[in-house]
Structure formats: structure tokens, C-alpha cells
Symmetry: C2
Subunit: 455 residues, 2 copies
Amino acid sequence: MRPFVWTTLTALMLAPALRAQTGSVATRYRAVADRIMNTALADSAAYHRLAVLTDRFGPRFSGTSNLERAIDWILDEMRKDGLDNVRGEPVMVPRWVRGEESAELVEPRPRRLPMLGLGGSVATPASGITAPVLVVKNFDDLARRAAEARGRIVLFNVPFTNYGETVRYRGAGAIAAARAGAVASLVRSVTPYSQQTPHTGGMGYNDSVPKIPHAAITVEDAEMLQRMQDRGERIVLRLRMSARTLPDAPSRNVVAELRGSALPDQVVVLGGHIDSWDVGQGAMDDGGGSVVSWEAVRLLKRLGLTPRRTVRVVLWTNEENGLRGGAGYRDAHVSELSNHVLAMESDAGVFAPSGFGFSGSDAAFATVREIGALLQRIGAGEVTRGGGGADIGPLAREGVPVMGLNVDGSRYFYYHHTDADTMDKLDPREMALCVATMAVMAYVVADLPEPLARR
Amino acid sequence: MRPFVWTTLTALMLAPALRAQTGSVATRYRAVADRIMNTALADSAAYHRLAVLTDRFGPRFSGTSNLERAIDWILDEMRKDGLDNVRGEPVMVPRWVRGEESAELVEPRPRRLPMLGLGGSVATPASGITAPVLVVKNFDDLARRAAEARGRIVLFNVPFTNYGETVRYRGAGAIAAARAGAVASLVRSVTPYSQQTPHTGGMGYNDSVPKIPHAAITVEDAEMLQRMQDRGERIVLRLRMSARTLPDAPSRNVVAELRGSALPDQVVVLGGHIDSWDVGQGAMDDGGGSVVSWEAVRLLKRLGLTPRRTVRVVLWTNEENGLRGGAGYRDAHVSELSNHVLAMESDAGVFAPSGFGFSGSDAAFATVREIGALLQRIGAGEVTRGGGGADIGPLAREGVPVMGLNVDGSRYFYYHHTDADTMDKLDPREMALCVATMAVMAYVVADLPEPLARR
């Protein structure tokens, strides 16, 4: 019991100090935070801007003109918004082209299976690969049945538990299948819910085993093939993929600022990634995070709120299949990283926000929790330990404190990397709440007398 | 207040009589009903049989060999089950063939729209129809904007309210659009929820206006086209459909019996429709209702329960695009219809059952409500006024009392007439509950001393 008692006593002793600190931020920033939140919630600007972006340009896959034209449009709009130092910072990005593709069940009965090749996969021969199928439940099951895998198409029929666990089969399935002698590999789409919806996403190879084609089929069809195998039926499938990896292409990180009034060289970064997969419209992943971050800065500008430090919105390119935007931003700004006070990313969807996950020093954590209290009114004030984002990972590794926007994630993986990642899955009010949450956090951190304490 | 008071008093005065009656059915049938329910719930036989049916034969569209081979297999299995008078009763059915089809957004940006032609639609010319799009919100909106519809493709962007209301645009949209001079028509799929999921279904023409192609696009794309129109953008779409209507083809209603011990010429019919649309697997609509009805009769047989009257399972063909099975059954059995004590259908999905909707005399309603009390234990005892099914409609019009199985319908229209109508949407336990519910009602009605009273 002693540790508990002491912890409790320590907490009780520290409480007045904490309250005073909280009182301090609350006293100084309550009015401005309320003004930011009230203004953000008064319209649906972010939702409508995202609708224009997604309707006009469609999916924004790395290496496509869709993405570059969308970036051109955003840069133009940001200039019209009156933001400072609006620019596209050059980044070379991978260029994987899906091409024509199909998966057809040949035995025991013909059926065209909805499928999506996985990003980075090699093609099949032009005539396709026609082979018997071995369905396995996980990597261990494949290891046990490795003798049966040779010459077959291996299907990983792994039900969704959580993303980190289940996505391993998308990421590394082709390596494990090739090691067992398979001629191609398939994964059950990484999702807890399906309406015959294939989900694409990234995958990898290594140099120790042959590169075999790797694609996703639907939950429905994976379960059907499992039942067929369980009944002892022979399953034959024809996979055709014409995917190609072309030379790297030029793209850009979008950068725009609200220059700080007193300490303009100190920077608070907030953003999302502007690229998407090549299906759907990338509304949720991550057009939403991009527009919400942009809108948060535009909102501060509209309100005439200029914090002491610079607030910089960054829309990273090529998060989905390369992370080149995040690395490129770090490289381009390496000399300023000691002046990066905080980097925030929204890439978990722009559903109802609950707060942030933070990675940084204990002292900085205490500060951002105090700021979180200003967001309790809209239910978005919970700041928890651990969090960030793929694009700000390179900054975190250089010592920059980072945080990721946390939202209601209950439906995120229904739509993730599918043709159904579209505007109708989002809600104007929830997006406005995300704008309010990002804007309050960015503004207050940028305006505090002291920068967030590093580790 | 008087009507209310009198109704209440009447109910109170009748209560003892009702209780006595209820007591009578409860006393006589409680034990056997419990035995039926316990046995039904002890395994997942219906679920596994439906999985074999759907996995092996795929969609069972009228006029296809899939359907006829599925019927052959069912007849064989029913004979193995030891059912009586197993037979396929010939019915000629329409034969609509979808062929290749596509819808491509041409302006303001290219996108291939997921779509399904509607059953019965004519084709486009081989080169397709390329025309500007007019989005309308409903029939009234089209009437107001009729001058703009000429030469265009009209899209009815009508959000789902309830099926009966919203399906009018699928059924009659081509007529209204053609009347306004449109060259083709599209509907937003009839569903409250979508993952880029097009829904097919039946549609009609009349002879007073030209027959124009009619197809469904997804909720997502319908909303996108609406936004584009609202922003004043020009929308051009290319529709290609090669649908054909071929001469009628032979099919069969599946009929099998448990012959009654005392009054075999008196018949209780229960069933579903064995045909489906040409997409998905028709697991929910209505392979489930078919297998549940079949399984209910097999269960009585396994238990050695032979009621006084005959229990007859009928799996109607061609419910989806012609209702020829229901009409054919009526015609083939016209001389016995006065001996049809009751006809029951399950065609609302085989989710958790709540009871039945009944159409017949007041006296018969009182009787089936008493039987419903036996099903309260499994939550399936609520018998309400009004109900039946499309296939038993022709029997109802000849005076046969009819009832439809009521189930939890919250997800039915997510999957209805789509490629996502598959086994994984169903639950073995819920299917077993449906078997129990259908079996108890059929058995008791077939065994009562008196037939259900006609109007």
C-alpha cells in the first residue's frame, strides 16, 4: 500500500501548485481560447474547403498530377488567405503505379474478387499467376504449413484486432510467403468492417527472398475462401497485376506561416499530410487533417491573433508510401530544429476530437495539459502521454516535442485506404471542433512566455 | 375519454377468456415448443447449410445455371433429409442479363463511378451515352426543373428515409426522367449506409414514354455530384450498359413436405425465395429465409413431430425481378387454396427475430398471438397486425391468412441487393432463433384442432 499512499500524498501536496499554474494559463488565455473556439464553431468552413479539394482533385497519390495540382490550388488559396511565406518546398517522392489489376476465383466457382494491389508490390506476368490457394490464419500457421505453401498463393486471413497487430500481414506478408516458396500473397483487408471493401496500403520486401506480388482482398472473400478450405475444397485463383515502380517524381511540402510578433524564429508546427492513396478521395486520410490545420492558422489570422512565436502549417507530401515529406521537412529545416517549440499532427481522422497524445518532457507535458484545460468545454481537453504522427516522427527523433490530435476512432478503419474515404464520412461540426482544438493549442503554445521545456 | 374507457373495460372483461384460451395453447404446446426451440438452438445447422449454398453456387439470379444448379442441390438434400413429396414445380422466369456496364465522370474530373444497372433496364448504345447531368432532389424537383432535363442524364439524389418511400425512384425514376426528355437516369442507391456500395434492384417502364437506361450509383458519388452542381460546375457523365432481356427461361419453385398425420390435405406453407440478384451471394436476401424455412421443417422431421396437417416448405423462384414464383405457386395450387391454413414467409433477413406480422381474420390473429406467447422465451413472440411477403401476396389475395417473420432490420438495407450480401453479415445464433420461431409457429398452427379462421 505504501507506494499508493505516497503517490496520493504527493499528488495532494502538489495540487495547490498545479492549480496555481493552471490558473495562470487559464487566467491569461481563457478569453482568447473561448473566442477561438466560438469562431471556429460558428461555421463549416473547413468542411466546405475540404469538399472543394476532394471533389476537384480526387485522390492525391504521390507522383500524380492530381496531387501537384491540388498543391498548386492550396498554395494559391493560402496566399489569398493572407498567410505569410507561403511556399512549396521540393521533395522527391516514389512513384508507384497500380495499373490494371484483378483477382478471379477459378475453382471451386468463378467469381471476380474485389481487390487492391498493395503499394510497392511488383506485377504478375502479363498472363497473371494462376495457382492453388493456401489460407493461413497468421505467421505461425504459415510456418507450420510451410511445406504446403510452395507454388501456391498464400492468403493471410487475419481478423482485425488492432491496426498495429493486423497491419503486419500487409507490411510483411509477401516476405513470409515468399520465404515459404509461395508465388504470390494476399491479405484479408485490414479493417473491422466491410461491405466488400478492399483496403490498400504500404508493403515491403527484403533482399533475402524473391519479390512476389502482394494484394488485399475483402473480408467477405477471405472468409469465404477460409470456409472452402475448411471443407477440403480445392481453391484456385488467378491474380493479375501490372503495377510498376517508376523513377522518383518531384512533389512539395506545403508551408505557410503566421509570423510571430516577438520571437518569429521560434516555431510551432501543425499539419497533416496532403497526399493520399490512389483510391477514394483522401477526405479522412488525411485531407481532413491538412485542411483542419490550415483552417486553424487561417482562423488565427482572421481573428487578428498574432502569437509571440511563429505558427507554421505544414502539409507533408508522401506520407502514405514513403514518408519522404516528413524526412524532407526535417532535412530542409535542420538548422532551425532547436527553435521548433512543438510539432502537432492531425492524421487519425477529423472526427470528434478528445484531445492530444504528447511526447516530450515532463515539464512540457504539464504545460500542454494546462492548455488542454481550456479545451474541456468542447470535450477536447484530454492530453495523454505518448503520441505524435508519422510526418513529425523525424522531428521527434531530433528532440522536438510532438503531439497528435486524438479523435473518436471508432469508424476510422472502416474507410482507411479505400474508395469510401469520402466527404460524407465526415461531419462539419466535428471538423470545426478539430479546428478549434488545433488552433487553441497552437496559439497558446506559440504565445506562452517560455517555450516548452525540452527533455 | 369514453372510447378509451370502453376499450379498457372491454379488454378487462375479455381478459379471463383470453387467459383461458392462452392457457389452453400454452398447456397443450409448451413442452413441444420448448423441445423445438432447445433443439434449434443447440447447433448452427442453418448457418452452415446456407454457407455451403452460397459458397458453392454464388448469386442465384433468375434464368442462370447458378440458380438451377442450386435448386438441384437443394432438392437432392431435401430427399436425403427424408422430406416428403420433394419436387421442383416448373415456372417460366424473366431473363435479364446485365452484361458489361460502367459509369464514368468525364467533367469536371475523370472518375470511374461504382454502379449497377437496374434490373430490366435497356442498354445504352454500344458507344455509351455521354451527356450533362442534372441532379434533382425528388420527383417534385424534377417537375420544377423539367426544362433543364431534356438531353441530360437525370440523377435522383434522394436520401434514404424508408424503403417504400425511397425505392420509388429506383422503380419509377426512368419513367419520370424520360417524360422530361432525359436520355438516361440514375438513382442514388437505396440505402442508409454506404462504403461506395452500389445497390441494384427492380425498375419499370411504361409505354407512354421512351425506355431510357436506368442505373444506381453510390451515395458517396451522388452527394459529390450534388455538391458539384450546387457549386455551378458542369457535370458530364458517360454511361455504358449492355443489358439485354432474353426470352423467358425455365426455373422451379422448390416444394417439400412433412405430410400431416390426420388432415394431410390441409397445408401450412412456410418459405422464402431462392432466387437472388446477380451480385453478392444472396445470403441475407433470401438464401437465409429459404434455409431457415427448410431447416424448420427438417427439425420437425428430426424430432419425429408430425402435426395433424401438412407442413410444406416452398422456396419460391424469381421473387426479385418478376414475382413469377409466387404467382406460379398460386396457379399450380389454385384448387387447394381453400385448404391452405396459413402461409408464412421469411424475407426480411434472418437477423434476431422478434415475431411475426399477420394478415388475416381477427379470430385467427387471436390464435397466432397465443402461439406467439410460446416464443416469448426467446424474444420472438410479438405478433402484430399487418404483414406477409411478396411471394405469398398472391395467396393472401385468394383469402389465405399470411404472416411474415419480423426481425431486427437495422442493418438489412446496408447489404440489400449488393455484392456485400454475404454470410459474414449473418450470425449462427440469430439464424437458429429464426429456425426455432418459424418451426414453433408452423408446427402449432398445423397441429391445432381447428384451422385458423378465415375472414
